[in-house]
């Protein structure tokens, strides 16, 4: 979410820390702030708001947190709306159980126009398009208080506004932006009996405000959040409103936010209130009373947090605190539905005391605790070490594959969006074959590698997982002798592959695996292999020669250097060595240049 410093200061007039510090402090108290930037003379922050803090999807919630943290007052503007010109009740019916609270008012003599520049700027800094003064006012109040609202053109909404679940009355809904959505049986919507005018989180194109609009009904509502979430998910439509309404929002904040909204609309669109306030409050928040031990923040954090501070923070958060014997009875404010138990209060206190005040000292000391390591982990570690000692490389392949080995026992994923890989692998061998194909595409030959991983089967309604070892060796005869060295047996497939189920093997009681730093590379192109003949008047140690030329070529591009041929020319009495050098992550021409230069050859 974006946060404009000057807008925040409307709620916190005493806030004047430098942007850098505000960014860091927001992050420290739990609102990770990626960065801030200066745009159009405004300082704009970019925050991640966590799912449990629906209240912080508006300036108001963030300002409350910062007010507590900096111990500065939160300014809540007081507003008295003008009286209604007509004693008229809006015909609204609430038929759905998913509505928690609704407020609505009718406004007449509206002048729909462009928004003033300041409003356009705020919306644009939040990535919201300016539509007109009325729609923009609802969006601005949503940004400010975190509660969405909606304005209907009464000319299009007569005779009623009905909040109801679809119950198959409407098939389709065309949203403001023109997308056509297929409605479900339960979709929560607002209709005028004939047509669906709006969903809980997106308005319809048949009731929107346009330049001819003169009279509007403005509503602000909070719903059962799971209903909104399900509707938004099933219709694959996410809006600024759905992001907020699917969180726990505070129904008690509605009257204040709604008054601000009406006030702003009158300000911008010069309308008059022409109905009584409609209000339906169906689900009130259940506010817990929490038994609280004021020592608990110190006990949990491991540092001393004075009780005065503890109580002061809770007080500033808006909690009601009563003392009962040794403990306190704490009633959190309705805007914080995430606070339901003592641990939540502890977190609040530590958060505002500052995580940075918890020192980094000694890690846990050794303690002799029962070893609960499953024995198969020891077996896996031991086998990996033995295979590495025999010159094998470890690879990892995808546990989800495109083809089943045995369709009768394969486990299929239901909703994998990678539609090519929907089966849980039943064998490692097809995956190792793919890895080998990949290596061959990269012109990497003479490889030998292994994988230890899970394979999966279904037996009736049971899901079975087994640990499996798969090995590949480009030299079939070496595979056989290596299996002998390992003392394990398995069925060899295609001469070069073998798979062994580890669950059936005996397991060691303990094993300490080697910890070593191995190098590994991302190959970004094919390996390039070039030969070079070099002659010497005397015979050389081939290993020394390989070391010598490897050093000349350098690590950066040399993949491997071998000698494929040594030839003695009896006439000239010279020894000719044929080198085969492979280069990696390099183009043909550069490889050739390096090659010729390194072996002192002419083009």
């Amino acid at each position: 979410m974006k946060l404009i410093y000057s807008q925040l200061q409307k709620l916190l007039p005493d806030l004047n820390v430098v942007p850098q510090k505000l960014r860091d402090d927001l992050t420290m108290i739990g609102h990770f702030t990626n960065y801030f930037e200066e745009i159009e003379n405004e300082i704009v922050f970019d925050l991640d708001i966590k799912v449990n803090r629906g209240d912080c999807l508006g300036y108001f919630g963030i300002a409350k947190d910062l007010g507590v943290y900096y111990n500065i007052p939160l300014l809540v503007p007081q507003i008295t709306l003008p009286k209604t010109l007509e004693n008229l009740d809006i015909p609204i019916e609430i038929k759905s159980n998913d509505v928690k609270r609704v407020l609505a008012l009718k406004l007449s003599n509206i002048k729909v126009a462009d928004s003033p520049e300041w409003l356009k700027k705020v919306l644009s800094l939040h990535g919201i398009n300016s539509i007109n003064n009325i729609v923009d006012a609802t969006n601005y109040i949503m940004l400010f208080y975190g509660i969405p609202s909606h304005a209907f053109d009464t000319a299009k909404t007569t005779p009623y506004l009905i909040w109801e679940n679809n119950n198959n009355r409407f098939d389709k809904f065309t949203s403001l932006d023109g997308s056509i959505l297929d409605l479900n049986k339960e979709t929560l919507l607002i209709s005028n009996q004939k047509d669906a005018l709006s969903l809980s989180f997106i308005g319809g194109n048949n009731s929107g405000i346009d330049s001819n609009t003169q009279e509007i009904i403005v509503e602000m509502a909070i719903y059962n959040r799971s209903r909104v979430r399900k509707d938004s998910r099933s219709l694959k439509t996410v809006t600024e409103a759905s992001i907020r309404l699917e969180k726990d929002l505070d129904t008690e904040t509605i009257p204040m936010a709604f008054d601000q909204l009406i006030n702003l609309i009158i300000d911008l669109g010069s309308g008059q209130i022409t109905s009584n306030l409609f209000e339906k409050y169906l689900v009130k928040p259940e506010i817990p009373q929490i038994e609280f031990n004021a020592q608990k923040p110190s006990i949990t954090s491991g540092i001393n947090i004075p009780i005065d501070f503890v109580l002061d923070v809770l007080n500033r958060l808006g909690c009601k605190i009563e003392k009962t014997g040794e403990l306190f009875l704490v009633t959190p404010p309705s805007i914080r539905p995430d606070i339901t138990m003592e641990a939540d209060l502890v977190e609040e206190v530590v958060r505002f005391f500052g995580y940075q005040n918890i020192p980094i000292t000694e890690p846990l000391a050794f303690k002799d605790v029962t070893d609960i390591t499953p024995k198969e982990i020891y077996l896996i570690d031991e086998l990996k070490d033995k295979l590495v000692d025999l010159g094998y490389d470890e690879v990892l392949t995808w546990p989800l594959v495109s083809k089943p080995v045995d369709p009768k026992t394969v486990i299929t994923t239901q909703n994998s969006i990678n539609t090519e890989s929907i089966y849980l692998r039943q064998s490692l061998i097809p995956s190792l074959q793919e890895q080998q194909d990949q290596y061959e595409r990269l012109k990497l030959f003479s490889t030998q590698f292994f994988e230890i991983g899970k394979i999966f089967f279904q037996e009736g309604d049971k899901y079975i997982e087994k640990n499996s070892l798969g090995i590949y060796n480009s030299k079939a005869e070496n595979l056989v002798s290596d299996l002998e060295k390992l003392g394990i047996k398995g069925k060899i497939v295609d001469k070069k592959y073998v798979e062994i189920i580890l669950d059936d093997l005996p397991k060691p009681n303990s094993y300490a695996p080697q910890v070593k730093n191995f190098k590994a590379y991302e190959l970004t192109s094919q390996i390039i292999t070039l030969d070079a003949n070099v002659s010497f008047s005397d015979e050389k140690d081939p290993v020394e020669l390989i070391k010598h030329y490897s050093e000349i070529i350098g690590d950066k591009y040399l993949w491997q250097l071998i000698i494929t041929d040594i030839y003695k020319d009896t006439k000239s009495n010279q020894f000719r060595y044929t080198f085969r050098a492979s280069y990696f992550n390099i183009d043909d021409k550069t490889a050739k240049d390096i090659h010729l230069k390194s072996f002192g050859l002419k083009n």
Binding site: V369, E376, D381, D389, T412, Q438, L442, S446, K519, E539
Partner: protein, 338 residues
């Protein structure tokens, strides 16, 4: 042994080892064992030696002669082999030995396992196909919780069976299995699954590492100090990590470790998305509801858990730009390099 004899032995041991041609071999043979060679000369000079030392001198001379003859025979085999006029096939006749390698993820896992083992931790594991109960409910994510997102989990059989989405799921199994055997110290690497489209920077399967402690009187200070050891082990003692408030349903208070950006040192750059810090994972004191659902009394026992992703770290360490490289991809090891 006579000092002079010892000198001769050393000198010729070296010389013989350096012989590469038949010609040199023959020259040396004559030099040592020929009619006017060194040993004939030495045997002739035996008469000049004091009678009481003569016997042992002769014995030593024979020992050295035999040894040098043996070395010559050995070297003559080598010389013959390397000067064969042509090798029969294109097999690499001379190369450094093929070296085996562990996958970089395994390597990091082992490094961390070894670290925690020193503190008395076991290594643990549990199934990858899990139930909703272990992946969500027991971790304080009841049905309809905002932290749930159907799009994120890969289901085997909705809504009950899915592929584990996090290593905290292993923690659920661990706490349930060992609730009668407290305290607990366990660490676990694991593959976890998310329903993400595979591309350069995302994968449906990745690797996490988590450590869990249940004991009496654990504090956030213990948590942060122990987690800090993990980061210092991986990133070196100079690494700067800050610990801040962060929300995860299974912990409270939640703690988020951020590492100061290695590239800009906190100033802000594209790598850290201009935050100056890079989010490293998640941690916190185990939520009382999580302990309770495992049958552990949160009034007596406390716990902490911390975890981090291994893939990004591995990629940074090995200079890998594409996450697909790590699995079934273009990851390869130089055959002769550790």
């Amino acid at each position: 042994m006579d000092q002079k004899l010892e000198q001769i032995l050393n000198q010729y041991q070296e010389k013989i080892a350096q012989i590469v041609t038949d010609k040199d071999l023959e020259t040396t043979r004559i030099e040592l064992f020929g009619r006017n060679g060194l040993f004939n000369d030495l045997f002739t000079k035996m008469k000049d030696i004091e009678p009481q030392d003569r016997r042992s001198y002769g014995q030593n001379l024979n020992v050295i002669k035999n040894e040098l003859e043996r070395l010559m025979a050995l070297q003559s085999q080598k010389v013959e082999k390397t000067v064969k006029t042509k090798v029969e096939n294109q097999e690499n006749i001379k190369a450094l030995p093929k070296i085996g390698h562990l996958h970089p993820v395994t390597q990091t896992e082992r490094q961390l396992n070894a670290l925690f083992k020193k503190l008395g931790f076991s290594v643990y594991n549990s199934p990858e196909i899990v139930t909703d109960e272990f992946n969500f409910e027991r971790l304080n994510v009841p049905k309809n919780h905002p932290a749930r997102d159907m799009q994120d989990s890969i289901y085997i059989k909705e809504p009950e069976y899915l592929l584990r989405t996090q290593t905290s799921t292993i923690e659920s199994y661990l706490l349930k299995a060992k609730s009668g055997d407290l305290p607990i110290r366990a660490a676990f690497p694991g593959s976890v699954y998310r329903n993400e489209k595979v591309n350069r920077s995302n994968h449906f399967v990745f690797h996490q590492y988590q450590a869990v402690v249940v004991d009496k009187g654990l504090t956030m200070k213990d948590l942060i100090s122990t987690m800090d050891l993990m980061f210092k082990t991986l990133y070196g003692p100079e690494v700067v990590v800050r610990y801040r408030a962060k929300y995860y349903p299974e912990v409270e208070p939640g703690v988020g470790p951020d590492m100061q950006c290695f590239n800009c040192h906190g100033k802000g750059c594209p790598i850290c998305k201009y935050a100056g810090w890079i989010e490293m994972g998640g941690s916190g004191m185990i939520h009382p509801k999580v302990l309770k659902s495992a049958g552990i009394d949160p009034n007596i026992w406390s716990g902490f858990a911390f975890g981090m992703g291994l893939d990004r770290w591995t990629m940074a360490q090995k200079n890998i730009k594409d996450i697909r490289t790590l699995m079934g991809g273009n990851l390869a090891y130089k055959p002769n390099e550790l």
